[in-house]
Symmetry: C2
Subunit: 544 residues, 2 copies
């Protein structure tokens, strides 16, 4: 039996393109002699469809697309993922299902039993968990087909009381197939290999695992589909961040012609780099835009975003706008211009001094002689956003946000100013990681001017300002933030690690106080296990 | 047995104030001879605590507060709500629990079985559903205690496969008690009475139902706690939108001294009016601010928000800023000034013409001779937001957003312009309802100038502009929006109701295309069964 794994990039709700892509892949697999081609979880509609699942017509479209695909599967079988209607009166109206299609019709339907409902996942919002299990017979083999999370309950503190493979294993299957929509985080690849391998070792079965690739706004799917033998050793790994189709021969209980692979994981920064490129590219492609705009300050964050955008979209599609204020230093301009030159992207210089002065004048009757403070600082930042949005409105550019995760965390940014944008590129990348990313971008030649990397970070909104006037040094700050945000540790636990107690309390207070700002920030490309946005839901007027 | 129902306003994570309030109420109930006092769901920590539940220290604080309260319950029993730790290894780590406290200690723990995970609810994100049921013996009576959703499965299309009262009823309880955190929507009171009454009729038992009041950012809890006899007739209803404590005598299987009430529901607009006042008041009080700012255009939306803010916070705490542009009409200024005079709130006039001209000048080298379009319109709207935010930053005002639900729906608003603000007051109120609200506010005397109500709505961002240039008339638009958003009907279904097909398609397309804007709007006070924000989660780069 020849099994093809199809690792594709779907577009949520775009039934036409998803169906076409699936049909093309089926034909391609067929031409290479495959008996069965396996697509990912919710491949028909893309993942996550979110509340589109509550529209009756959306679910009907899914079924119609699946039936259309089935008609073309006469000499080949396939597995696709889609939402289906729960025929029982009791319980939620939908299942998260896989169709096993053979001889032009749906031969079996498998429903997902374990529904992730944490971090970015909301599956129990829509789906009823399956309480039945069933193996599939195909070409003399018995297949144990499960959907993503169904295999993720093998650990010391299981999240679910049930484990579907426990039931399926009783039918003595020959192999496991798992179809997934497992989003990227820089540490997720290793965890995935561990847990899937644990399943193989526990049930003494080989496993074909199909993930998807592509970005759906904030969520980036990295692919990395896997083939394991019954000892839990990896026999093959599909590429990360790109589509792929590979065919394997399964005979006499074994996957043929492959020996265990030594997986050498990429560094976190390498992975983050590729994920962000895909995140930018798919945001534009799937929303039908091609041109990006951003404010280029001469600092490291906007330089990194500009370099990533130029790589993802083509330098000719990137407009960098330099907007010096009265407090901008000369080197900011020259550093920004050096970058523009290195990248070959377009640029404009629009000084905002006159705008800031106009607002100062307009507000004089109200502000009177009150001293310069954050109000005047923010006027500059917001004037820049106004210029960028005006150019966006005039020319159809999409504004890229350039804030990093450290700033988002502590609220060191101006709402409707530098926190504006359609998509945040670095909002899940701590400042210390931004430095690493800059050096990685420069790995072959100097793209980002060294001066942008080595000079002390500054918002340049008042004379001589430095980030370190208001914030702890980033290498300390980022460690505290990581403990609080990613690891969910409390102040006492973090202080016990050796950080200054007053500093820890101050940082946590800043994070909590910035909740109202983060509520209004653009969607953030998620690259860590805990990003701001849909995966972290905090009260705004709470007190804790 | 005397049972006290305590309908209180909690503050999420504010253990000090919640505990103090609960203890004060226990003392008060005790002084009035109560044997048992019943508080609402998650009363210890406030509802919804959201991802604070993922912090170990938060859950420990809940338990400590409950134990502290228990110590004070020696001559009286009480029921409180809090998250507790699931002792089993398998399943989620927490339960949504009620403690029954008697003789200074926790005598029984009841865990919620049915976990709402739709619309604004995310309970399965945190809690393991209870699979055990248990009645409580107290003073010779058997009490069937459940938590909110546990009673909401009695209908023709039940959302859950189980129904906890089916099990509890086998122990032949004497009465039902249900503790809730049931947020307001203008149609929710009638539904609540129906479903709770259905339980009484089904199980032939009386019911004491305790809801909470108070706003937690976007969610507004309306109280309206209820007492039913075993025929499902309402014997008493606690007030809406205010705290209350009432005591009932239960003897010989009956609630004493009360006869069935004829409930005359308030109109939707009356309810929305009170809900918005509470929403504004609690947002400020719970976040520690007192002064509001808003832009006053002379139109109806900002007039209504200004009047609501003045009533909620006191006119002396409201700063209305008039910011005429080159395209503002004279009547806009006079209408706005009339309102300010009627309310007695503060105001400033800051014309933004100079700001718009400055930006036009700055952008001239880029825009060249391209015609005036949405870019220039938005410059004006964003200049206003910049002025308001500068005053907010300088003086500590909180910016109230004045966009209505019709605008939010179709994206007829400027991101970082009139869509800015800390909290949106009317974002869940359709334009046609805003007119009704204005007339309701004027029910005794003219507060909102009649001219603001009767003149054709206009953004006044270009000469002679009217909303109806870009949008269908609001009475048609709002009906289509209601069918699509609240009732989740598709374009074919809506057209079949008699609306023009092309118009329906155009409106739905506008709603979907505005998803990226709504992602960045402030939290919206929720008054309908389907508000934008946490209760409606749509993909941004989807295509459907």
């Amino acid at each position: 039996m020849k099994i093809a794994l199809a690792q594709l990039n779907y577009h949520i709700g775009n039934f036409e393109s998803n169906t076409q892509k699936i049909l093309d892949t089926i034909r391609q697999a067929q031409s290479q002699g495959a008996d069965l081609v396996v697509f990912a979880e919710l491949s028909i509609c893309g993942y996550p469809p979110r509340d589109l699942l509550e529209l009756k017509s959306f679910v009907e479209h899914c079924e119609a697309a699946a039936q259309h695909i089935a008609k073309h599967c006469t000499d080949i079988a396939c597995i696709i993922g889609l939402p289906t209607i729960n025929p029982e009166i009791k319980g939620k109206d939908l299942f998260n299902s896989a169709y096993f299609i053979e001889n032009g019709r749906v031969k079996a339907q498998i429903n997902k039993a374990l529904l992730p409902n944490y971090d970015v996942f909301d599956e129990y919002r829509y789906f009823e968990p399956s309480r039945q299990t069933q193996c599939i017979d195909f070409k003399g083999y018995t297949l144990a087909l499960t959907i993503c999370e169904d295999l993720w309950n093998v650990n010391d503190n299981p999240l679910y009381v049930d484990e579907p493979m426990e039931h399926l294993s009783k039918a003595k299957p020959d192999l496991m197939i798992n179809i997934a929509a497992s989003p990227f985080a820089y540490n997720h690849d290793e965890e995935r290999i561990q847990i899937l391998g644990d399943n193989c070792r526990k049930y003494k079965l080989p496993l074909f695992y199909v993930n998807q690739i592509g970005a759906q706004t904030e969520l980036i799917f990295d692919g990395g589909s896997l083939v394991f033998n019954d000892k839990g050793e990896v026999l093959d790994e599909l590429p990360y961040f790109s589509e792929a189709l590979r065919i394997y021969e399964f005979k006499e209980g074994k996957i043929q012609d492959l020996s265990p692979l030594q997986i050498i994981p990429q560094t976190d920064i390498q992975q983050i780099h590729q994920a962000l490129l895909l995140g930018i590219r798919d945001y534009f492609q799937k929303s039908g835009f091609s041109k990006a705009i951003l404010g280029l300050s001469g600092g490291i964050d906007s330089a990194v975003v500009c370099a990533l955008a130029a790589e993802a979209l083509g330098a000719e599609n990137v407009m960098a706008v330099l907007m010096p204020s009265a407090y901008s230093t000369d080197h900011s301009i020259t550093d920004a211009l050096d970058l523009v030159k290195n990248l070959g992207c377009k640029h404009e210089i629009i000084p905002i001094k006159a705008a800031a002065e106009t607002f100062d004048e307009l507000l004089k009757p109200v502000f009177k002689d009150l001293p310069f403070n954050i109000a005047e600082e923010n006027i500059q930042s917001r004037s820049r956003a106004l210029v960028l949005m005006a150019m966006s409105n005039k020319f159809g550019y999409i504004l890229l946000n350039t804030s990093n995760k450290s700033e988002c965390a502590v609220g060191y940014g101006t709402l409707y100013g530098d926190m504006a944008g359609a998509i945040s590129v670095l909002g899940d990348v701590y400042k210390t990681q931004v430095f690493q990313l800059a050096r990685y971008i420069n790995r072959e030649k100097e793209i980002i001017p060294i001066n942008s990397i080595v000079k002390p970070p500054s918002a340049e909104l008042r004379p001589g300002q430095k980030d370190s006037d208001s914030l702890p040094e980033y290498d300390i700050l980022d460690q505290i933030l990581f403990q609080y945000i990613e690891l969910k540790k409390g102040p006492a636990e973090i202080s016990a690690m050796g950080f200054d107690e007053a500093l820890v309390n101050r940082v946590i207070k800043m994070v909590n106080a910035a909740e109202f700002k983060r509520y209004q920030t653009p969607p953030i490309l998620r690259v860590s296990p805990k990003a701001f946005g849909m995966g972290r839901r905090m009260p705004i007027v709470g007190k804790y």
